[in-house]
């Protein structure tokens, strides 16, 4: 009886998950007049202590220490982040932060927001970290220097800043090759050339392998090890950026291309090993940016175009043809500006920006043929008072959407307008101590995507945007005593979400549809700490983050799951990292602990997923070569304790495996 539901659910799942893009774009980043306190605060750049909102930075060293190969691997170490990882090399990774799902997080690459109107979710595993200069996670407001109006809309943002986007001092090169003993291989190359005031650079990454790995699945009652199959992947990504960097102007032009062919390992179904679905992606993006900066004015204009093609094929489907073959083609064009004016005398900053976006989606699965015209705008200010001791920030952003679509063979139209206010404050009570108190409030909206509204049978034209209200109060502290440097941040939050967009069966089990249903309350504390000890010959870096989260379902006061903890939301998660640097060796240990969770809303034994610990240790050695070249060998043991675990139910993760990386850099 569940069968029809399953087909629709499967289609929906793929509609939602299949479409991901890797896009690249350039964006000018020019040093701003940063107040002295701000700069000296970020001793190690683990968290941005001066920020009025929680913001965390991952440096290239930290990324290497984690053995992270993609954005998802790295971002799961940010306190408050829950990574949804389906496992395997081609596996989808999405992120939720403080119980706000992936649709509330914006991905920004080199200052440009990566749009996805089809489903609103970006797959974090499709971003490689080869040329990463930094990854910045923030909630409330995007803290990057250079940004666009669209970056101010969502609750959370992940900024990936790459080396290709700025002029190198000399010819730069980077080659690497990684072997994972779960049959996953990755090779990358990057080069960048300065040409007087111009620069040009490119990077390429090739990922491949059968992706097969062994796992134990005790619910199958078998003691023997099983093998994850149908996981092969062959993907390459290319990105090139050229630019001009002058005193007042910076212009960049970049292009990115991704081609991915993979098998989909799918859920591990008990006693049924057959799994033969496949997925293809082809993504193209071209982006142009211009930044003008002089006399306390900063003007950023940008234009971009992206095209995403997805094909999903299931050869084992029991219809007359015996297969499902779906294609999706999305095209998005964006253009916009952001003007920023600093008034040094009164320590005031004001900014105004607007982006126009046009998106269309073609697929037999969305016969409504939707076309979206969207205007995103922002108006904001920053004010420093009492000699920088008090920092006030605020903005109002607006999303105006107009969709053209086909309904019962007739053209139809609908629109949304939503305003999001944001206010924040940070206060530095002492003159000599880098101790701060901060707080923010933001109201945000997750707009319905094309899939939510127009997916055949499931989509619902009547949807309202999902609304979230975020409150945060926190402390940060940073200090240096001789050999020791300490950074601490502690934030407590309250998020209330209503009109959640979820798929539920409506008229009967055969008719699932997207609905605005659900109300949840999230309360929690995120703590992060870092200690660096520097001796003459040896250096220690210790860090930890701890997250406590209670997110209760408040949908129906008499419902069976009222006041139950939301699915996939552990009440506790934490991680511990140690890095020891001695001569040319670097020893690292990173342990991630995720508390127990439930796979469905009801907090009962049948839905229980136990806690797990994922511990990685590694040893790296670097070598100085001639002509400024540097080589490194990096060996890591992943999941040292060989723990069997699932992050997502029915998607078992690999046991212990090894990772070897060779690097050559200049």
């Amino acid at each position: 009886m569940l069968r029809m539901l399953h087909i629709k659910y499967r289609l929906l799942l793929w509609g939602i998950l299949c479409f991901f893009s890797v896009i690249a774009q350039p964006q000018g980043k020019i040093l701003d007049t940063i107040p002295i306190i701000y700069r000296s605060d970020d001793v190690l750049k683990i968290s941005t202590l001066a920020s009025t909102v929680p913001a965390f930075v991952l440096t290239p060293d930290r990324i290497k220490d984690l053995g992270a190969l993609d954005l998802g691997d790295a971002i799961e170490y940010v306190p408050g982040v829950q990574l949804k990882d389906y496992g395997g090399i081609g596996g989808i990774k999405t992120v939720s932060y403080r119980s706000l799902n992936a649709n509330h997080t914006t991905i920004i690459q080199d200052g440009n927001v990566i749009p996805n109107t089809q489903n609103g979710v970006i797959n974090l595993s499709s971003f490689s970290l080869i040329g990463a200069k930094s990854i910045v996670f923030s909630t409330g407001e995007n803290v990057e220097e250079q940004t666009t109006a669209s970056a101010y809309l969502q609750a959370n943002s992940i900024s990936l800043n790459s080396r290709l986007n700025s002029k190198p001092r000399k010819l730069a090169m980077n080659l690497y090759s990684t072997v994972n003993t779960v049959n996953a291989y990755e090779h990358g190359a990057l080069f960048q050339v300065p040409l007087k005031r111009f620069f040009v650079g490119a990077e390429g990454v090739y990922r491949h392998g059968s992706g097969e790995y062994d796992f134990r699945y005790p619910i199958a009652g078998l003691d023997e090890v099983q093998r994850r199959q149908n996981a092969a992947l062959s993907e390459y990504r290319l990105r090139a950026t050229t630019g001009f960097q002058g005193n007042k102007h910076k212009i960049t032009l970049s292009g990115a291309y991704r081609n991915n062919a993979q098998e989909l390992p799918g859920a591990v179904v008990l006693y049924n090993p057959s799994n033969d679905q496949e997925l293809w992606n082809e993504d193209l993006a071209i982006r142009a940016n211009h930044l003008f900066k002089a006399n306390n004015w900063k003007v950023h204009t940008h234009a971009s175009f992206q095209e995403n093609y997805t094909r999903y094929y299931d050869p084992g489907f029991l219809n007359v043809e015996g297969f499902i073959d779906n294609e999706y083609k999305q095209k998005i064009s964006v253009g916009g500006f952001l003007i920023n004016r600093v008034i040094p005398k009164s320590r005031t900053e004001v900014f105004l920006g607007g982006d126009l976006l046009n998106a269309e989606l073609e697929s037999s699965e969305l016969s409504a043929k939707p076309n979206r015209f969207q205007l995103n705008s922002v108006l904001g200010f920053g004010q420093r008072l009492f000699k920088h001791h008090l920092h006030l920030k605020g903005n109002v952003s607006a999303q105006m959407i107009e969709d053209d679509f086909v309904r019962n063979d007739l053209p139809d139209q609908q629109s949304y307008i939503r305003f999001s206010p944001f206010v924040s404050v940070s206060y530095l009570p002492f003159k000599s101590e880098r101790f701060r108190v901060r707080a923010f409030y933001k109201r945000t909206f997750r707009m319905p995507t094309f899939n939510d509204l127009y997916y055949n049978f499931i989509g619902n034209y009547e949807l309202d945007p999902e609304e979230a209200n975020l409150f945060n109060v926190g402390l940060t502290f940073g200090k240096k005593w001789g050999r020791m440097t300490v950074e601490l941040s502690a934030d407590t939050y309250y998020n209330k979400v209503w009109n959640k967009i979820v798929a539920i069966p409506t008229k009967d089990i055969f008719n699932w549809s997207m609905q605005n249903i659900g109300l949840s309350d999230a309360k929690g504390v995120d703590l992060a700490a870092l200690i660096q000890l520097k001796f003459e010959k040896v250096q220690f870096i210790l860090n930890t983050s701890q997250s406590f989260n209670q997110t209760l379902d408040k949908t129906k006061p008499n419902g069976v799951t009222y006041n139950h903890q939301l699915p996939y939301t552990p009440t506790y998660s934490g991680n511990y990292g140690v890095a020891v640097i001695w001569k040319k060796f670097r020893f690292t240990s990173n342990l991630l602990h995720n508390g127990s969770r439930y796979s469905l809303n009801e907090n009962i034994y049948a839905n229980y997923l136990p806690d797990f610990t994922d511990w990685n240790v590694g040893l790296a050695r670097s070598f100085e070569l001639k002509k400024d070249f540097k080589a490194a060998v990096d060996f890591k043991v992943m999941n040292l304790l060989n723990v069997n675990y699932e992050i997502v139910r029915s998607f078992p993760m690999p046991g212990r495996y090894y990772q070897l990386t060779l690097r050559l850099e200049r």
Partner: protein, 355 residues
């Protein structure tokens, strides 16, 4: 200050949260005087399960297959049937997405055989079962019928029926397989495939309404068949065929907002989705639907099925509560009065009544 900070850091390092994990469900003492519930679970979550309701203790036990066998039943179990071989009672379970037939002892729920149902590496997906003597006929979603020898627990033959069979029943030596074509939407199938169990041969197809699923045949040879329509402009209906005749055809069509039914004691009880009630048809030959509601089920969040205990006449209705929460099974007397209710698991498909 410095030492204090180090203290905080160490405290953070050692911090662990107190957990309140749900306890493992207990096992009942015996499987007698109660009701077994087969729960489908959810697609790709490997959470099909069996619940047990003990009438003596007025208490339900969850996950009893897992408890007795220390492994999961599988994914999307769709049907189970009780039968007897050499005086011993067994249950055969069709686990659709796992593509397995599970043979378990009725007294202990211990598995005695697990029969894979594959065509090479392709899952056939067993869905609906009818037991005829020492043979089980299983309609598979790939369009085949598996013939299972219940003495040796082996599949002896596969017969070809139509598209995505979703119901199976027999009358004498005739086996009727309901072809839904559900996965071929919007071009649904509209046939019954008929086989002769004695000669093991295909007899022919009978044309019906589109997308049929549930089927039951009365002792007098009247076959009742539910069509689900196409969920848009073709409404569900109930059809009657007389299988005692030489040329079998649809003789009567009831245009009713019906989602499931059960025949007991010359009455057909069905769920009326408009009235949100159980209504009845008296099968006295004229088959006139009775006016009004027999049992009001409007307070059900998600009506999911009806079944009647053939011995007591008690009527059981399933509330799947949004399909993602533990279901409630409500029991009514044959007069339609509420008796009791108990909790099952996700999406109950069927009950077996054990004395």
């Amino acid at each position: 200050m410095k030492n204090y900070l180090i203290g905080i850091f160490i405290a953070l390092f050692c911090l662990t949260a107190c957990k309140k994990d749900p306890p493992k469900p207990p096992a009942p003492d015996a499987y007698s005087n109660g009701v077994l519930v087969l729960n489908e679970g959810l697609f790709q979550q490997n959470n099909s399960s069996i619940s047990w309701y003990s009438k003596g203790e007025s208490k339900s036990f969850q996950q009893v297959f897992l408890t007795e066998n220390e492994r999961g039943l599988g994914d999307t179990a769709n049907d189970f049937e009780l039968y007897e071989i050499n005086g011993k009672k067994y249950i055969i379970v069709a686990v659709d997405v796992s593509s397995q037939l599970e043979i378990i002892e009725a007294a202990t729920l211990k598995s005695v055989a697990q029969i894979p149902v594959f065509d090479g590496t392709e899952a056939r997906e067993p869905r609906e079962i009818v037991v005829v003597g020492q043979v089980a006929c299983v309609a598979n979603f790939d369009g085949s019928v598996a013939i299972v020898d219940l003495v040796n627990n082996q599949i002896t033959a596969y017969w070809e029926a139509g598209l995505n069979p979703d119901g199976i029943a027999h009358y004498g030596n005739d086996l009727f397989v309901v072809n839904s074509g559900g996965l071929n939407s919007p071009d649904y199938d509209s046939t019954l495939s008929v086989f002769d169990l004695e000669t093991q041969s295909f007899k022919g197809n009978i044309t019906t309404a589109i997308n049929c699923s549930q089927v039951q045949i009365t002792e007098e040879g009247q076959l009742y068949l539910l069509s689900r329509g196409n969920y848009s402009d073709v409404d569900p209906s109930l059809q009657r065929l007389d299988v005692t005749k030489e040329a079998i055809e649809v003789e009567q069509v009831f245009d009713l907002p019906i989602s499931s039914f059960e025949i007991h004691n010359n009455w057909l009880y069905y769920h009326n989705t408009d009235l949100k009630a159980i209504c009845r048809i008296n099968l006295d030959g004229e088959d006139m639907p009775e006016a009004g509601a027999f049992i009001d089920v409007s307070e059900f969040e998600t009506f999911y099925g009806i079944q009647i205990d053939p011995l007591t006449g008690d009527i059981y209705c399933f509330d799947a509560r949004g399909y993602v929460n533990s279901a409630i099974v409500k029991c009514y007397s044959k007069e339609g009065n509420f008796k009791y209710e108990f909790t099952a698991a996700l999406n109950p498909a069927k009950l077996i009544f054990l004395p």
